[in-house]
Symmetry: D2
Subunit: 357 residues, 4 copies
């Protein structure tokens, strides 16, 4: 039973490989009546696309999206919305060289083991290119969330050893790495450029905040909001960990430190701190949702690495090709999309929790 579908109520199914007929997504479960046009989608895809700056791969994909169904006279119809991004800048030739080699850190070996074969061109289905479909669907999720005054904002929190200390949302889209702290932005860029020069790559941390989420989202005991967020972002290529709120810091805290005291803000119930990251018992509590994910350094590096061949012989490999030296800047819109998709799914599901009056 394959796994190309995400969400239970707002459901997306992605398809496509790096070098095939394109990348697509079918969104089933978008309510009828939402104003939607291709430029709503394109805007988000442009944030994800390649070739944006010196810290991204040089592969140039226009990533022009086409809405194939589900929209009529500028409105969603309640029927499946199919979106398609054609592949253009495809050069499969250099992948012929590695069709019998397993690239370390990549999914070549595991796809081969799983399916007994693989599309080795550009990583096939395992390529991060697949995430274009997620971002397209996420753009619709964001539009729906906006109607409820929910906003999803992502940024690069850390690159290598360098951390953003201030979170100034206005800074994020002003720099090429989507860093919210202008004091550290240039250092981060320098770090990436230095690493790239050595033929190496850097890891980092992306953080996503969701503002305006009402209390009540999340379905105990398995489809808790934090559980579904964890799945959502862990399914992004290269993610190796996820935290909600204080995350791993909780290990060293005492209960009296970690618990967020309930307070009143006017007549509204709030909490003094937000260590919980907006989620208690798997359900949103009205505070900001805070999700953090770690991206491993890009697996494709020019350095020579040990590996083995398809036939089980020792070999070495140096991955040529066009790669991001650090995936964080482009991972930001992807992470936002996955958080938005999770939230809209739960916002819709929440409507079913109680009897209507």
């Amino acid at each position: 039973m394959a796994g190309s579908t995400f969400g239970k109520v707002f459901r997306i199914t992605t398809w496509g490989e790096s070098h095939g007929g394109g990348i697509g997504v079918v969104v089933d479960g978008c309510p009828a009546g939402l104003a939607l046009k291709e430029s709503d989608i394109q805007k988000e895809l442009d944030r994800r696309k390649t070739g944006q700056s010196k810290v991204t791969t040089t592969r140039k994909e226009g990533d022009k999206v086409r809405i194939m169904s589900g929209v009529f006279k500028g409105k969603t119809m309640g029927t499946p919305i199919s979106m398609w991004v054609e592949n253009h800048d495809v050069d499969s030739s250099k992948y012929e060289l590695i069709k019998d080699l397993y690239r370390p850190g990549h999914a070549d070996y595991t796809y081969q083991m799983k399916y007994g074969m693989r599309d080795y061109r550009g990583g096939g289905r395992a390529s991060a290119r697949e995430t274009a479909g997620r971002v397209a669907a996420g753009a619709i999720a964001k539009k729906l969330l906006a109607r409820h005054k929910i906003k999803v904002i992502g940024y690069t929190r850390q690159i290598g050893p360098l951390r953003a200390k201030k979170i100034d949302f206005r800074e994020i889209e002003r720099n090429i790495i989507r860093c919210p702290d202008k004091d550290v932005t240039d250092k981060m860029i320098d770090h990436i450029m230095k690493v790239r020069k050595k033929g190496d790559s850097a890891g980092g941390v992306v953080e996503v905040i969701a503002q305006g989420v009402p209390p009540g989202l999340g379905e105990p005991v398995f489809d808790k909001l934090d559980a579904d967020l964890a799945k959502a972002v862990m399914s992004i290529p290269a993610v190796k960990g996820v935290e909600i709120g204080v995350g791993f810091e909780a290990a060293e805290m005492l209960g009296s430190e970690c618990n967020d005291a309930f307070i009143l803000k006017g007549k509204k119930i709030s909490t003094r701190t937000n260590h919980a990251g907006g989620i208690l018992g798997g359900i949103s509590n009205g505070q900001d949702i805070v999700v953090r994910l770690v991206m491993k350094p890009t697996s494709s590096i020019n350095k020579t690495q040990d590996t083995v061949t398809l036939k089980g012989k020792k070999a070495t490999i140096s991955v040529e090709g066009r790669h991001d030296p650090c995936i964080c800047p482009r991972a930001v819109p992807i992470a936002e999309a996955m958080v938005a998709l999770t939230l809209i799914d739960h916002l819709l599901r929440q409507q079913l929790s109680r009897l209507k009056k």
Copy 2:
């Protein structure tokens, strides 16, 4: 759309509240022909139950499991396996005091917001007592995995600031906190006892290793093995973060450090390191699966905390009752269960990935 079901092929549905008619689970999708008796389940429940030692709550639940269906003449029949653990040591009276108060760190407020009401006795459905059903189902998963020589082993990796440095599997069940490093065990126990004496609680980290997992498990692009593991463990009460392999350390690594070189061990393909934690591209690669989760300090503490009432008035609260000062020791079998349930689901799903010869 509620969320009480986990797994797609090996599916479990749990039910029950802390102080109601008991806790139960229905397992649908267990293949026919597995030898199964109540003692197989009881063994795991006993590891999870309360009152095991001085570091756990004093609530005494026998947690005797009864298999209600699906097993005939000692074998599973392919039909749903229903298991039931009756509640016994139930004292709801003291919860009357807090029925109009929101305990900080607990799900009282969020359940109230979600459903417009809540079962305030012992935390109701949000009680960790619900996890008895998971552990019961996990015991079946473990038996199935054992047939494939897959073993799932959990332990307490960290309590407060104290970390296990050696991982000696034989130590785990020899001490009351399930620590694999005997050099640090006593210090951890001391730490917990000291914290408890102050009416406070401690956090920690639990780690789970799965040995013998064949390559090929995991379903791109959303039901990746790491994504489903993340969801599985994040759905455990009090978990605030999850890591696979190196986890958040990846942020500071270079690609050349983080990539696991492929090597040959005899004729078998292996990797020199296991930074990936056994998963590449969302699919198992044959190395040990390594999952780490952080448990926040128990929310129930005796210290006085600020809160508000159901009616939105300021108040203070000090949670009496019987609580674990640190949840890690009892979280170990729960985390194992969730990892085992995820693995068996994917092991079964993997059978469908390729054409049979």
Copy 3:
């Protein structure tokens, strides 16, 4: 991937065998706030239970239901509702005689082929006793539907060659076969008694009407209301066919006869006829939903029949035991339950179809 769950939003999972620890059902997705007590459930179970009259089996099951979770202070909590009916009048001894024989018309052979084994006592999981769980869940569905003024009414439309011509709802529960036409009731009962005397059994047709269903229920293109109703009733043991509205008569109608003209009733849009049975394009149109299902004659008959043994030898069999000579009267509440479960699932799903203003 087993199939013990029905519904997508209002989801039920049944468990249990004819002679095991009982029959149960877990309802996940019932909204919080519904007043619910055991007598609400018991009322429906009593309509389904054995030993009601001379036309039903003499097995005597009290079928007392116990609500195990999900209800607190008389209200549903939004958490899973677990219900359990214990087995009592169990005499497995006579099934020892047929453990190596395949009863014609029964599922003995197919369960053996599917699972490689079977619980031969009383038909195991294939026993119609399993439907007690459906009826229990259906009782909750009916309560929810009643809040929306939706009523589900079933009756015996035909037994053997005898058809009800008038549909007088008041008659249904006044006679032991649930026939709505008093002119034919006695003849039907006579027919059943005669057939039973010969050691044989009779088939029949059950019809279910749902009144008050608003337009808009049903999810194209696969989860159409008629498609889900067809699945729902076809999953009842012994059902071999299902019709919506005119059903198979449509084959001989012209389009000009079959189409239901739209008319105005006051300001409300209605149709002049209801050949469609209340469903157009898989979506309810506001007219009565009309579902008809055929029940094959009970497979268990005293007459000698040819069969084979587990080991593949020729044999004859005459099924002793306590059986209904015609299943229709007791199938009525089961069919009602399945229709109610389908409707509530779609009523809840329908809330997600459009943007809220």
Copy 4:
């Protein structure tokens, strides 16, 4: 929660409207390693397409399929297979006339009620054109089934009052209405032509046989094979009833007549008759699967009919446009596709029922 996905393991999601960017389907869960080319799909689409003969609509769609993903070097990769059929012969102008009218027998009214709007061009999503996606996916299902020597064969069993009495498979594709009985073929064609001349339409019955299905397919108690087949075919536009085996005839049979005696054919267990239509207890028994479905007469007729407008005023309508006077001939490949999709889903699921040795 929308309903554009069918199947649990071999899952298809269709998208598209009659007059939009095309019709498509994403197949997720097709095992890796199946030889597949576009002509495999095209062959089946050609049987469904319009303009085949004088008894079908004159709309001329080339219905050329394009495989967009999931196939590499002529083999399926285990990844989603996306297929797209572009719309060409689209003339939306005449639908402007009916955008404020509800066509009797059509889904105009119910879509409007459900979604608050509709794509009125060519029936939008409710158009039978959507089934092109099903037929494309069904072609893959058939290829997989063929590897297991399973064959799915459909034909027109009845048109108006005329029934096929002989079932000669060789005849089916020799005539334009797919009738298996040459003695009645010409009469059926005459009947359709006469009805069309009057501006009217005819109903009929389609039957599908699946040969070679092994015992063991079907998942009690809800995903029974007959239940899923019933859903599958009832989801086809215009179907108002479905029968398995003897179907509604069972009402008038005695148990001793209806039960299929088990017999030996050589060493193989078989049944003397096949009243059950190959399914007992919801599981295949190794005999031919027999499914019958009734198609109502095409709703689009030229005759003047009463209706109402969107604004609730009385009106009359005569549906111009290009329509099939009887849908049966083109429904045959659609019904085959839905049966094939159901069977492959259950064939894959059946692999999970028992422990592997």
